[in-house]
């Protein structure tokens, strides 16, 4: 006798196949509306209150312009092309810095997580660097690299490096030693164990680092573009405010929020793809 019959998970049929699609359709549509509202209801209400209070004059419309004005400024900026150049240069700065951080932090983190001596030797200086605000160092980078692109890219790189590096290290260190012992029993060499056990085990933690770093990259992008830039989304936010083009300022802020959401969503989808085995995220 075997117990497999008992252990088999009970599956509940989702559809019994008899209900016709025609009768189901209104009910399905209803459910979709409910699901949509439960997820986006508060966001929609927030935007609606903004719109009403601004156009009804409850708040100063010059400071908080109505949503439709912001949307039209955004539309003009995108279709007219005035904001496209800014988006391109901002993406280039953030993308370059992020790519460099990935190229440095992941290999270094994998190495540091594996070799205790290296980690012990480098940890104190990493902690000091990490706790020093990248923004506080920005003037230093400007002195060293000038006020051009290099210092901007470098300050973003600097700030994105640490979340990724530290999460990669902890991902490697969190790999269950019992799994490594299991691999050893089957004759795995150190390299094989790294490739087959350590690396896949560290991936979820690396993704946590990637998502943190992506957020940090955008944050530092704006800060760096607010100092000594003449192009870029961050520059546009400041510039529009100086010139009192408030709808344009909000349009630039909306673009930033959009970039953040897209970056995060892209990483979440990639993680879902690579980590189908782990628990569903968010």
């Amino acid at each position: 006798m075997s117990l497999q019959h008992i252990e088999r998970p009970v599956t509940i049929a989702a559809h019994d196949g008899r209900t016709s699609l025609g009768a189901d359709l209104p009910r399905l549509a209803n459910r979709a509306v409910v699901r949509f509202l439960s997820r986006y209801g508060i966001l929609i209400a927030f935007l609606a209150i903004w719109q009403v209070s601004s156009s009804a004059g409850w708040v100063n419309a010059a400071v908080l312009p109505p949503i439709d004005t912001i949307v039209s400024a955004l539309w003009n900026g995108l279709v007219g092309g005035t904001l496209l150049g800014d988006i391109a240069i901002s993406l280039q700065r953030a993308g370059l810095a992020f790519a460099a951080a990935v190229a440095v932090a992941i290999p270094l983190g994998l190495f540091m997580g594996q070799v205790r001596a290296v980690e012990t030797a480098l940890d104190p200086i990493l902690q000091v660097f990490r706790q020093t605000s990248a923004l506080a160092l920005y003037p230093v980078f400007i002195l060293l690299l000038g006020l051009g692109e290099a210092s901007k890219v470098f300050v973003i790189f600097w700030a994105t490096l640490f979340p990724l590096l530290l999460n990669t290290i902890s991902g490697v260190k969190q790999v269950d030693p019992k799994l490594l012992e299991m691999a050893r029993v089957y004759g795995a060499t150190r390299l094989t164990a790294f490739r087959r056990v350590v690396l896949p085990g560290a991936v979820p933690s690396i993704f946590v680092g990637l998502r943190l770093s992506a957020t940090t990259a955008l944050l530092l992008l704006i800060a760096s573009e607010m100092i000594g830039a003449n192009r870029g989304i961050g520059f546009q936010v400041m510039n529009a405010q100086y010139n009192f083009q408030i709808p344009l300022m909000f349009a630039a802020i909306v673009i930033l929020a959009g970039l953040g959401l897209i970056a995060n969503q892209a990483l979440v989808s990639l993680q879902r793809r690579l980590c189908r085995w782990s628990n569903p995220i968010d």
Partner: protein
């Protein structure tokens, strides 16, 4: 799918002690034992009697202080392809499917993926998990996960299978089913089995011989031959008498 002969283990003057708070604590003292090819030897003993240590030395995961182990006459150091270990926890790789986990041992040894998966499919079926081949470990119950671990060990077709309380973490119902399955698998696979347990009934149910490690320092290890026909029935009179004999050895009766 049977290995031919082999799997004879000779243990000579094996000693091992650990340092506990700066003082050496002997867990194994000059142990001598011959494990026959193809037999099922079950090691029992109180906690701290060194049964897991002995198994880990046999596995090559720990070194002895003195004395040694030979397999088919050849002294062993470290892990080896003729041995496979089943741990108390299944130790599955969560990012591999059931089939991937079962094939892992062979793939690590450089067997081409297709060939490894063919063999893995056979043993996945043998442990009754064929329809869960594509499931991930987090979708499995404890008993199913442990069966994946067993299939992974069988897939490399070892001469000697070492089991460290493999059913210790399972609930009573699952455990009984698994004991029956292990007995069935041993009868199909020609392999020497060395298993550690603290469950005396499990020991009598599965073992050809039971090795009882002494509780007190200076005591001697004892071997009990279990001469019962298989399949064994734990409620049968002679089975019960074996249990009493083992309990006496433990000084509990």
């Amino acid at each position: 799918m049977a290995t031919t002969g082999g799997g004879e283990v000779t243990i000579r003057d094996l000693s091992k002690s650990f340092s506990l708070g700066g003082r050496p604590l002997a867990v194994l003292r000059a142990l001598n034992l011959d494990i026959r090819s193809g037999e099922c030897l079950v090691i029992v003993g109180a906690s701290g009697s060194g049964k897991t240590t002995l198994l880990r030395i046999l596995a090559g995961l720990e070194a002895s202080d003195s004395g040694g182990v030979a397999i088919d006459g050849k002294p062993v150091h470290g892990v080896g392809a003729e041995r496979a270990v089943i741990f108390q926890e299944p130790r599955l790789l969560p990012w591999l499917t059931v089939l991937g986990n079962v094939a892992f041992g062979l793939e690590v040894r450089g067997v081409p993926k297709a060939e490894a998966e063919d063999k893995a499919r056979f043993y996945t079926e043998l442990v009754g998990l064929a329809e869960f081949s594509d499931a991930y470990p987090r979708q499995l119950s404890g008993g199913m996960a442990q069966r994946v671990g067993i299939a992974r060990a069988l897939t490399v077709q070892p001469e000697i299978l070492l089991l460290d309380e493999p059913l210790g973490a399972l609930d009573a119902m699952t455990k009984i089913g698994m004991q029956e399955e292990l007995a069935r698998i041993w009868s199909e696979e020609n392999v020497t089995v060395v298993m550690v347990t603290h469950d005396l009934e499990e020991a009598i149910y599965l073992a050809d011989r039971v090795l009882i490690l002494p509780r007190e320092k200076g005591g001697t290890a004892r071997l009990v031959e279990v001469e019962l026909p298989r399949p064994r029935d734990p409620s049968e009179g002679r089975f019960v008498r074996y249990r009493e004999e083992l309990l006496r050895e433990f000084g509990l009766h």
